[in-house]
Symmetry: C2
Subunit: 195 residues, 2 copies
Amino acid sequence: MSNLSTTSDEIIRCARSLIIAGGYNGFSYADISEVVGIRKASIHHHFPSKADLVRILVARYREEAQAGIAELERYHPDPVDQLRAYTGYWAECIGDATSTFCVCALLASEIPVLPQEIVLEVRAHFRALSAWLASVLERGAARGTLVLTGTARAEAETFMATVHGAMLSARAYGDPAIFGVITQPLMARLGAVHT
Amino acid sequence: MSNLSTTSDEIIRCARSLIIAGGYNGFSYADISEVVGIRKASIHHHFPSKADLVRILVARYREEAQAGIAELERYHPDPVDQLRAYTGYWAECIGDATSTFCVCALLASEIPVLPQEIVLEVRAHFRALSAWLASVLERGAARGTLVLTGTARAEAETFMATVHGAMLSARAYGDPAIFGVITQPLMARLGAVHT
DNA sequence: TCGTATCTACCTTCTAGTAGGGAGTTTGTC
DNA sequence: GACAAACTCCCTACTAGAAGGTAGATACGA
């Protein structure tokens, strides 16, 4: 851990962007070896199997997501701002092609053919994200800055689903702007007040 | 065309369910050959390349979707009923495992690694579906049975995205019921009146 | 000298795709 | 109606390359 970026970090980072592009079956150890500049066998030294690599990759992704949410809550005490910051984060990622999709959302679509250990990690991400969104919506409703039509839980699931669908549409249309077109009415309908 | 179901039909039907399970890179000609009961080479006779097969498969899926929408409009003159019939159709598909995902939605997630000809078909489906939804929302707004917050186009994109995201969540949680949990507030918030 | 990281070399299985042939059916022509 | 050419559909047999993964040697720092 002397280096700022170890080889295994590089492998994970590379694999992540390959998964974002084409899912679990859309990349190979050979692809990673080309990008990172080491041999296939060396990747197996760090991650014995492909399932290991992706499971660890998703676990780390979840940690980062948790950390991101914690930071977001620190900078934005208001629930409405928190929702806006969350959608804004993704709008930026998709806009500048940093990451045009959530790793877990992408893997979720392939669940029937995914190793079980990865499925569990992906599912855990969905649960954590929707739980956080539900708590934000609840606080917003309590403050009167957000208007809920159904239960906070149902609204949170709808919110999360819409954001995921917006990523999909941006990709389908080949137009990052569509993400904003979709999330804007989403915020507006929750009665989110501007500034 | 004497048979009700030709071999190429069977190949397409089989490939469709394999795609729904694991996407473009999640199945092979060998998989199809096992299920359909013919040799790999025979599949190449009907569909020279995998890209051909999937492109034709998606084109047919789009035709069926168009036909389904036309029928749905015939049986349900009211815009609110049309939306409900649309989400209801998918709720049933996901519930009884007929088809737990829209072929185009699944392929859309893999667009960066998909052959261009398939991307165009998938994109066309998204355009057609959102255009239809926009027209339904517009009619509903004109009648006063639906309340739009933004433009019909933006609301239609949001609606479509939410439905796609609901499919994803149902798969992620491994729980078909979540589809209804998500689409219910979606309808409610559009001010869709019951019965 | 132990452990970590990397390498070369290799294995097995799967991948999409091709070559060429056989059986049955259609079609055109006399 | 007879006959041959052409077409359809499926087959066996094969290819080259990519897949995930292993074995064993080497380099090097603590």
